[in-house]
Chain length 265, copies 2
């Protein structure tokens, strides 16, 4: 179906704009992705937007293919003015296309732990940029995906999706409380590893085993002590400076590359 929208107060415009807000995303079960590149990443991973919103008169071979896919899937194409598109995305210079996706199943049950040797997990990760960066790191190290434990930033926010560089579409993603995560983990093979200063061995050359779940904690609090205690392995990274800390996404990535090297050696 094709629609042409020229009015700022059109209810569809209001709806699309509301998806910038987490509460509305959760209620609708949908999220908005801006830019042809991310939409192409999604398409390549078999995710086709429910609705495609385009600035009038834009033409691009990739866009044409995307339009065809959306139509074939029974979706909707909306053409509108650049101003309305800017209003929807909240950016002064909006890119010429955005897509609305249905959120998907992010339960632990949807993950196949045997599908990858490494998994990342983050507890109470609050920064959507860090979250997206961790998804991107998952892609780089061949990790199965990212498990978000307790109250984390929304992986479907524009900032997280952008920072993931499309990895949100290609790597696994789950959200769970710790009370659900731990029994799930212990219901199968899996080594839980935390970066820690307590009772830890050097991260370099530690005895990592697949599937290895690398757990990082909240940006300002780190991991709760009882979460660390539940880990199979606590490793420590050199801290040569004044502050005993690294950015959470950085710590996860340094560990992930070490685990990758360890498992492959």
């Amino acid at each position: 179906m094709r629609k042409h929208i020229t009015g700022f107060s059109n209810p569809t415009v209001k709806y699309l704009r509301s998806l910038r807000d987490k509460k509305h995303r959760k209620r609708a079960g949908q999220f908005l992705v801006e830019g042809l590149r991310l939409l192409e990443d999604a398409r390549a991973s078999g995710r086709v937007p429910r609705t495609l919103v385009m600035a009038e008169g834009r033409a691009h071979p990739l866009l044409a293919r995307l339009e065809a896919d959306v139509m074939a899937a029974g979706g909707e194409i909306i053409e509108t003015t650049p101003d309305i598109l800017s209003k929807i995305t909240g950016k002064e210079n909006a890119q010429s296309v955005a897509g609305v996706f249905d959120e998907w199943d992010t339960s632990l049950a949807a993950l196949d732990r045997a599908s990858a040797p490494i998994w990342l997990a983050a507890q109470a990760l609050r920064d959507p940029g860090n979250l997206g960066t961790m998804l991107r790191t998952c892609d780089a190290v061949g990790a199965g995906g990212l498990i978000l434990i307790d109250d984390c930033a929304d992986p479907f926010s524009a900032e997280a999706v952008r920072a993931s560089m499309g990895a949100v579409f290609t790597v696994g993603l789950a959200q769970a409380r710790w009370e659900a995560f731990l029994p799930w983990l212990r219901g199968g093979a899996g080594q839980l590893v935390a970066a820690s200063l307590r009772d830890a061995v050097p991260y370099r050359g530690a005895a990592y085993a697949a599937p290895c779940f690398i757990l990082v904690g909240n940006e300002s609090q780190g991991l709760p002590e009882e979460y660390e205690a539940a880990c199979d392995l606590r490793v420590t990274m050199p801290m040569r400076g004044r502050a005993d800390s690294l950015n959470a996404a950085v710590a996860g990535a340094v560990l992930a590359y070490e685990v990758l090297a360890g498992l492959e050696s």
Copy 2:
């Protein structure tokens, strides 16, 4: 000197507010830092704000010490309302204190390359969060500091300072064009290392030598080919996924930890 300000249109309020903007920061040669924790990090590194702006009636032992230092250095203390403080910092819930610092010398000449075995360098790094994260990584790995090459984000922006977790005050910082950086580098000992896919050796166990300068490129373009060609060593990190890339700050950190391990083994 102590001042009490209650009017939103006070010229000092306007001036402080203007420091949120890069253009005004450059003109004034000053920047604004919010929050007692960052101000404490600065103080511990011997950097005392020129002006301290506090919400009325706040008391804290650390704040008292900071006030004394500012007064001893001939600086200014401004007391004002929480609303005005929010207006200055641009945050709805401003912390109760902010400080104005003079920017310092960020020329290459101010760096002592012999003072540390590792240095980070970033070319055309646009994201202030990435920049701050790299400063923080410098602190963690004991690097001498960060060299910003070509047009990068402003290290004195509120976002960069915050992401650095205070490391902007404690590690070295320089800004230079490539045309100035390369002769400076070649004027002394120093190995220039880039993460690259061209003509590269595995990053793991490569022949790193101190002082080792780790160079990462722009977030979307990577390094220009001629910059890579000028490096002494090009190393490649495993990329197991769909996208051949990592977040710039993450790539720098993974490499920095590998270099640290290599130099210490």
